[in-house]
Assembly symmetry: C2
Homo-oligomer: 356 residues x 2
């Protein structure tokens, strides 16, 4: 099938570009002796997770338990959950999944550690989530980290897997120098937390974190032992706007696109596309049209304006680079996999909408 024959709007995956991104990140991690555990919240796809693991990843991360359940059902057997699991019904599901795959998760509160310990029927690996200052999740002080480590160590059914430290707010600082300075300061704090834990006698086998904006900086700073990057496989517009190179970071390629069609062409300034905010996430600004001089503006649930001096015609196809890949992928049921203009496969977005 030709790409031009796909009904639009449609999510397009350039498999060769993605595979090069996967290999580049795997090579970077291996060369620096770091483990790689890519975040599957980006792609929610068993096929892509398998490709990452085949290329050398230790396993994957998931943001939600339902995401992990969906990917485990498709054969992914090593998953780390990057958010606390708190509800009793969710803990029961977690315990069931822990019997079937190698599973770990984070905790940031002693009540939650106690609840996990009560529910666990076999050893469960728990990481201490340390707050880098965003105050979203994570323990808020070195003392709280130590108290949590002690609590985990005291529970026969729990194993301390290590520490998680994800500097989410820093990933998209556009200047690399500014990003480096911010992460360097935050990493000094992480080192002090790790010192306190180790001084108290806790082994910290894994220190996991990093994203597509900071992994090379994290590698240079040398405190993390495992990288959780997700978006590098696609290179969305938001990350492409950042200075990602430097420190030996690979150059990633655009691999994810949205094809749309001109459905109204009555003005000299712009045309209207059939892709709006039900086709792409709006939290990170507009997509980038793959068309010289063109810009895009969201104009509704199902519409967007393509603004350019030289406009495409009614019915013409326009390709967009999505603004923020993770929530954009979550709006679609499948990737249409292309090689050039030929559609060669269709991959289900396994965990699309699995938010619980």
């Amino acid at each position: 099938m030709d790409r031009a024959d796909l009904p639009t709007p449609v999510l397009i995956l350039d498999r060769a570009a993605m595979d090069r991104n996967i290999a580049a990140m795997a090579g970077f991690a291996a060369a620096r002796g770091l483990a790689l555990r890519p975040h599957a919240k980006t792609h929610k796809s068993a096929e892509i997770a398998r490709r990452q693991i085949s290329a050398g990843a230790a396993g994957i991360c998931c943001a939600k338990l339902a995401e992990a359940e969906a990917l485990a059902a498709e054969g992914i057997t090593d998953i780390h959950l990057t958010s606390p699991v708190v509800r009793p019904d969710a803990i029961a599901r977690l315990v069931a999944l822990n019997g079937r795959i190698a599973l770990s998760l984070v905790a940031d509160h002693p009540e939650n550690v106690a609840a996990l310990a009560r529910a666990a029927t076999r050893p469960l690996t728990v990481f201490i989530d340390v707050d880098p200052g965003a105050h979203r999740t994570g323990v808020a002080s070195p003392e709280a980290a130590l108290a949590l480590a002690d609590a985990i160590a005291a529970e026969p059914n729990l194993r301390l897997g290590g520490v998680q430290y994800y500097c989410g707010s820093q990933q998209h600082i556009e200047s690399r120098a500014d990003r480096f300075a911010a992460v360097e300061r935050l990493t000094a704090y992480l080192a002090s937390v790790l010192d306190m834990l180790k001084t108290a006698g806790h082994a910290i086998p894994i220190v996991t974190g990093a994203g597509t904006g900071t992994f090379a900086i994290d590698a240079e700073l040398g405190v993390l032992t495992e990288l959780q990057c997700g978006s590098y496989i696609f290179l969305d517009r938001e990350y492409e706007d950042c200075e990602l190179t430097g420190g030996g970071a690979p150059v990633f390629e655009r691999a994810l696109f949205l094809d749309a069609t001109v459905i109204s062409a009555n003005h000299a300034t712009h045309v209207t596309l059939d892709a709006g905010l039900k086709a792409m996430a709006t939290d990170a600004g507009p997509p980038r049209p793959i068309r010289p001089g063109a810009t895009y503006r969201f104009t509704g649930d199902e519409h967007g304006a393509l603004i350019a001096d030289s406009l495409p015609k009614l019915g013409e196809r326009v390709t967009l680079q999505p603004p923020h890949c993770d929530p954009t992928v979550n709006l679609h049921d499948a990737y249409r996999v292309v090689e050039g203009d030929r559609v060669v496969d269709c991959w289900t977005i396994t965990a699309r909408g699995r938010g619980t």
Copy 2:
């Protein structure tokens, strides 16, 4: 099942409140002699469409052909498409659907009218989409409207269904007086377009448009004959922030909610919920927590901050009123239907993700 036992984040529908909203809008339209054709882009649900039709609606609107196909497959037999259908593959699907249900759609370009006429295998009803000034879709002048009417009339396979005029940009003007003034001015333009069409001999059986922000104003101005309102069934935060009463408009009730859970509680100022921008649309600001004095801030794909003086505890459930209902619904697979705190049903979101 108890509502408190549902895994979160979860989309909650208060059926009784929604049914009262459906009845109130149906009563309003009937009392003014207007047809009601609610927009199903809001709910994407065959069950809700059936309830609207049972309450007196003439049929429904859909924004996308795939949405119409999904709802037609569930027994909805009278659908108007509010956006042009332009691609040859989409026109072929449209023609196939036209054989199975009563179908109409809009056009705004003579090339598109010609393409529809070439493809149609039985009479197809086409409305002239008139641009109210947003320059999104629609013909851009009375002269262009007349040329399109002439083009439709010249095609034996096409029927002129009437005119569509949707003032999308005006729906959320918060002050009713300002909204009235804006719509009054735009309606004078619509009247001039209709005059030109009628003077030229075109019958205009239906003039369709309006939304939840303007329907009572449109009724008072007396030019539209059919109302396309969608969001009234749920009353999202964005519409509740507008002054919707006046002109005999019914008072709508909140019927759509998102239940979330506190998964991190390490700060005096806020807690973190398990619902972020994969659970709710971000284009219209934050949701409204159903909790006195509390506010919500998006903090990531899977997280949000609940900010309050008096905070819920770790594991506690928090109910949110979604900010913008249409794209929020499109993120979920089902409505959990509640009566009070009891879950009484689960309705599939029939056309979720059907964007082509």
